[in-house]
């Protein structure tokens, strides 16, 4: 059952990313997989992350023509940073920890994107400079991602509470 979920989850995550890019595609595209990563970390369900989000991120980068693994880098960065912070300080599934992880995860992915673009631009791998990326970076999309992470995370948490924790949370 879980394998079926993972197999279906990959194209679903792929389609979700493409759809969000088409829906909110003003300036720099939104990254719903980063949002999913933060929620998954907060819910402490890393198997979903490993078997659904990571392949979907790899698939997205593979389908893009720019040869920059931005989605993989952002997903791994968001996962690494939020997991580290969560294990050290924000150990519960409270709303405050969700807000903290979301803010931190999105901030780190933004910085990582800037660094990757800067290096790629220096290495002549991309024509997109950091300055033009900052210009096209849309505050609306960042806020939307932030709000979506908190809202969906809290919603899933509530649903999991209602249906029983074993439904959503993985056992480690």
């Amino acid at each position: 059952m879980k394998r079926v979920f993972y197999i279906i989850g990959i194209p679903l995550a792929f389609a979700l990313h493409v759809a969000m890019s088409a829906l909110l595609g003003r300036g720099w595209p939104p990254e719903p997989l980063v949002v999913c990563t933060i929620i998954v970390v907060w819910l402490q369900a890393p198997r979903v992350f490993a078997f659904t989000i990571l392949p979907a991120a790899a698939l997205l980068d593979l389908m893009q023509a720019n040869h920059l693994p931005l989605v993989i880098a952002n997903v791994l960065c968001a996962w690494g940073v939020t997991l580290f912070v969560q294990q050290r300080w924000l150990t519960n599934r409270s709303t405050a920890s969700l807000i903290g992880l979301t803010s931190l995860g999105l901030l780190c992915t933004t910085i990582v994107t800037a660094i990757i673009l800067w290096i790629a631009h220096l290495a002549s791998l991309t024509s997109v400079g950091v300055s033009s990326w900052v210009t096209s970076l849309n505050l609306f999309i960042l806020i939307t991602e932030w709000a979506a992470a908190i809202f969906i995370g809290f919603l899933l948490h509530t649903v999991a509470k209602l249906l029983g924790r074993s439904f959503l949370y993985a056992t480690h």
Partner: protein, 258 residues
């Protein structure tokens, strides 16, 4: 190493290969599978966006429609007022032409009120301040006699239409040597021609004009036409019902002859 660790390691390898552009053959293999998924997702979003835009357009169109409806009502009111002014101007011009032709002078007045029985009394916005005097004839629509001034105030006057009770005007049929008679009002509803000798010939549709017997009313002013004849056996005179040339309910601008 756990599954998670292997997954991360594999992802990092993929990321590195993507950076070096080494996965182009793999991309050619998976593109036919995932490109349609991406296109379908984009199409769904585009359709959703188009529907949202359609809703927004509909709301905007509804607002514009409401606004245009209000403008249309306003324009219709303006147009009606303008047409009223044009009609009144035409009446005034016709009356001015009539007065000029007959070498008469008059005072223009507007009907500003009516008695409860509208056919019995008209209130006009001219009085002694404008030179109106009691008994002066009142014309409408290019020289048709419609009433007599029955009461005068400083700035308003009452006009008694020819249909009102008590009105009496000397008239004759509009033809050479036409028979004369007296025209009287009938309870505000009609006009009757009386005192026409039976020996005279009256016919329907003959025009009735003022005669020379009225001291304040010039002769030859049109009043109406004969509608029907009333002859009583043994009577000395015959009578006729007169239809006014102008419906008195529609009077708006009048000329009071000096």
């Amino acid at each position: 190493m756990s599954y998670l660790g292997w997954s991360i390691a594999a992802t990092l390898v993929v990321a590195a290969l993507i950076s070096f552009g080494s996965l182009a053959p793999l991309q050619r293999i998976i593109a036919p599978v995932f490109a349609p998924i991406g296109r379908a997702a984009s199409a769904v979003v585009e359709r959703f966006r188009a529907m949202s835009a359609g809703q927004a357009d509909r709301a905007t169109l509804q607002k514009e429609n409401d606004s245009l409806k209000q403008q249309l009502v306003s324009t219709e009111l303006d147009r009606a007022a303008l047409q009223q002014q044009i009609a009144e101007l035409q009446l005034l011009r016709d009356e001015a032409d009539f007065l000029k032709r007959r070498s008469l002078s008059g005072i223009s007045a507007r009907v500003i009120g009516r008695a409860e029985s509208s056919a019995q009394l008209l209130l006009v916005d001219a009085g002694t301040a404008q030179g109106v005097k009691l008994g002066q004839p009142v014309l409408a629509a290019g020289g048709v006699l419609v009433g007599i001034v029955s009461d005068v105030n400083t700035s308003t006057s009452n006009v008694r239409p020819l249909t009102a009770d008590g009105t009496s005007v000397g008239v004759r049929v509009d033809r050479p040597d036409g028979p004369t008679g007296i025209l009287v009002g009938e309870r505000g509803t009609g006009i009757r021609l009386t005192l026409v000798p039976k020996s005279e010939t009256l016919q329907p549709k003959q025009s009735i004009i003022t005669s020379e017997v009225n001291p304040q009313i010039p002769s030859g002013i049109l009043i109406g036409t004969i509608s029907s004849l009333r002859t009583v056996a043994g009577a000395l005179f015959q009578e006729a019902t007169i239809i006014p040339t102008i419906p008195y309910e529609q009077l708006t601008v009048l000329t009071i002859l000096r």
